[in-house]
């Protein structure tokens, strides 16, 4: 499967391509009064209202700031995922389209199933699903469903 990779600080992470609706930049975030800080705001994507999560805050690292290099991944909702032709994967996202704001994007990589390794226990995190090794680098493959369903991660909303 193909994965689109991106950076959060110095950490390279990846999301499965089929889970992505599109990647964009330069969106205007509309702030939402009373929303938790991890929410950057809402955007209007061709008539759809999409909530944008600041990945930096979601990972409790440094807030992702809008820049020339920062990008927004808009993820498919579950209904859109089911429309992907010849689907041969087991991915869930969320009932709504949700976006994640990242520092910068990197390459698209093709990963075979056997390359997906379990996340070592000492770096375990609810959003991590697998680890892929590329040369001396490790790429963390994320679990979209976990990031997108923030209600299940109440501490981030507090």
């Amino acid at each position: 499967m193909l994965y689109s990779t991106f950076y959060l600080g110095e950490t390279q992470m990846g999301l499965p391509i089929p889970s992505i609706l599109e990647i964009g930049r330069g969106f205007d975030f509309h702030p939402v009064r009373g929303a938790p800080e991890v929410i950057d705001g809402l955007i209007n994507l061709r008539g759809k209202v999409v909530t944008i999560i600041n990945t930096g805050l979601a990972f409790e690292t440094q807030k992702v700031l809008a820049s020339d290099e920062s990008r927004v991944y808009i993820l498919k909702n579950n209904a859109e995922l089911r429309e992907v032709a010849d689907a041969d994967f087991d991915i869930e996202t969320s009932p709504d389209n949700i976006g994640i704001h990242v520092d910068r994007i990197a390459d698209v990589i093709s990963v075979e199933k056997e390359e997906l390794q379990p996340v070592p226990a000492n770096i375990n995190h609810p959003f991590y699903k697998h680890v892929v090794r590329r040369g001396n680098e490790f790429i963390i493959i994320l679990e979209p469903q976990k990031i997108l369903n923030l209600n299940e991660n109440q501490e981030l909303l507090s």
Binding site: P18, E69, D86
Partner: protein, 732 residues
Amino acid sequence: MSDTKDIKFNIYNPVITYEHRAAFDLIVSHLQEIFPICNQGKCKALEVSDDPQKQKQINDLMEKVEFFSNSLITITKVFFDQLYRAKQTSSQSISQSTAMIKIDMIERNLLERTCDVRWWALEKAFWECITLADQNQDQLTKIIKPTRKAPAKQSGKSSKAESDLKNAIELACTRLEDIRNSYTLYRDLVIATIDGTVVANSNAERRDSILGINVSNEEWFQKALQTKDGTEYFVQDISKSKLEDPDSLIYSTALRANGDEQGEVIGAMGVLFDFQGEGQIILNDYMPQDRSGSILDGWFSFFTNADGRVIGSSDEHFIPSGDLADLPRRHWRLTTPGEVLVSNAIVCGNRSLVVSHKSEGFDEYKGLGWTSHLVLPESAMFERSEENIDYGISPQELMNSKLIPDTNKQTYQEIQRNKGDIQLISINGIILATDLGKAGTSFIPIFDQITTTGNSTTGKMEELLSEMSADMLQQNLKALENFSKQAIDLIDRNLFERAADVRWWSTDHAFWEALQNNTEENFEEASKRLGIINASYTMYRDLVIADSNGRIVANSKSENRDKLKRMNVSEQSWFRQGMQISRSVQYGVQDVCNSDLENEETSLIYCGGILENGEREGKVLGVLGILFDWENLVCPILEGCLPRIKNEVVEGGAAFYMNDDKEIIATTDAENFPIGQEVNIPAENMNLEAGESASGIFTDKGRKFIIGSSKTQGYREYKGLGWTAHVVRPID
């Protein structure tokens, strides 16, 4: 978005190097390859999906790729233009500085000559000689005219008048020789009676042919007689004179009765400056040389006079002195002092950059309307630097530094943005293709290709930007080296003059007479003479005479006299050095330090031994100390050597001198590079050999600086004090 309509350096411009043209071709051909790929993508969209929305999405993506590829082609053109403009601007700025340095160097020198001639004309031996010659015309004719030889020793049959005149002429010749021995910049010095007969000269080898010559029809002589008082002088621009074969630059003033500045005019003094020798040194300096030390082909440096005629040239074969300069006329018709003209022209068969800087004189010396010209091959502006030195600074850091013009940085950002856009389109394309399932897989190589092309072309442009920033670094380092060389050259030349002054003044009759016959009246007379000198020369705080016990017995400034008379300087370095002197060609110098002679202010003191009977060699009676007005004179020199952009000093730019102990002794930035402090500059800049220059990068108080440094090599008889000049500018 970049615009191509104002492009000056398009890729067909002959100055574009082969390597850059090849790089341009590579970038553009790669970008052109994207268009058929996009067409292929559009066709495939119709093949693999019946969904009009998907087809449109793919078509939109392909069109966006085409748009950004087109945009990158435009940026590539603009980018090359900016690359060459940046190099041109930087080269022009350095060339302007170089042309200015050269004319400034010569004008500063000539200012000294105007001081010299006015002071020398007051010498007793000269006005006494002229007075006697005037009173004894017949004897003068007998002594000089028949043989034009140096006056022979007195024979028994000579009348007293004749013998007195012979002695006076002999003494005048000796004193003129003493001047020439102290100030080695002159080919000859002459004095002439009021009717224009030369009666004494300094150059013994040429004396036979000089004495007795009548110069009454020469302008320097006529204008000297017209000077109103001892403060006036005349300078005759480079021209023919009976006094020598080469063209002469002659400074002159009147000799006056009893050496009184307001006295009646009795004759004239003319000093023949070695302009050709001095000019050659300056013209050959700051010019790039090949390994054999010859100036590179196509590089010329020369001066023209107000009529546009060449008066000195670094290459007499191609640009001979005496000819009208082979330049567009506007270059030698500059009218405003300080005016600068830069243009491109064919000079000696080469397409060249021509920079001309009209002199504005220096200080009170207004100059003769000369212009300094620097010519360099146009291609030299755009050559790649051959040096590839690792200064420990990353290309990214350099690219973001202040050395790179903002327009280039903006282009860099535009390239980065386009690269990002193409990358984004490609990934979105891959996402769309994935949505199409197996049918979409055929799109993936297309988007991969687009990503690869985008990366390789922008990567190539980043390489070129990195090359440009390295070149800009080299150029700026070279410019700082030149500024530091200028700073050390100017101070060396200035201090050479001080060394010459002190040697000559030490021989003044009033000084040795006062020390031999130490009456209050004689000391008063010595102080008066010191006062006259100090009024003629603007660069001294005070001039003092100490007797052999170290007691100050005379000085030039009456307001300091009471304090100084109570002072004993026997333990001071300048005095001890002076007491070791036994020949009038020797001098001593006390390096910059705080002196109680000047209320603990920073002083630089030169000293000369006052010898018995004013002999060239003999017993020392006391010491003449001259207190150079260090801060007031050194700071403007350093300020004149600061790095500038469009005549404005670069923010944070500084210049300073360090002594042999690596301590700062003068600075333009007392806050960041204060006097007395050591600075953590690179070892290569710190440990230079005499006459060497170096450049580098260093960090001070968290700021990154580039630095150019030059160590003294002295100048003529002045050997230097081991100082180093450093010029710095921050780059972050």
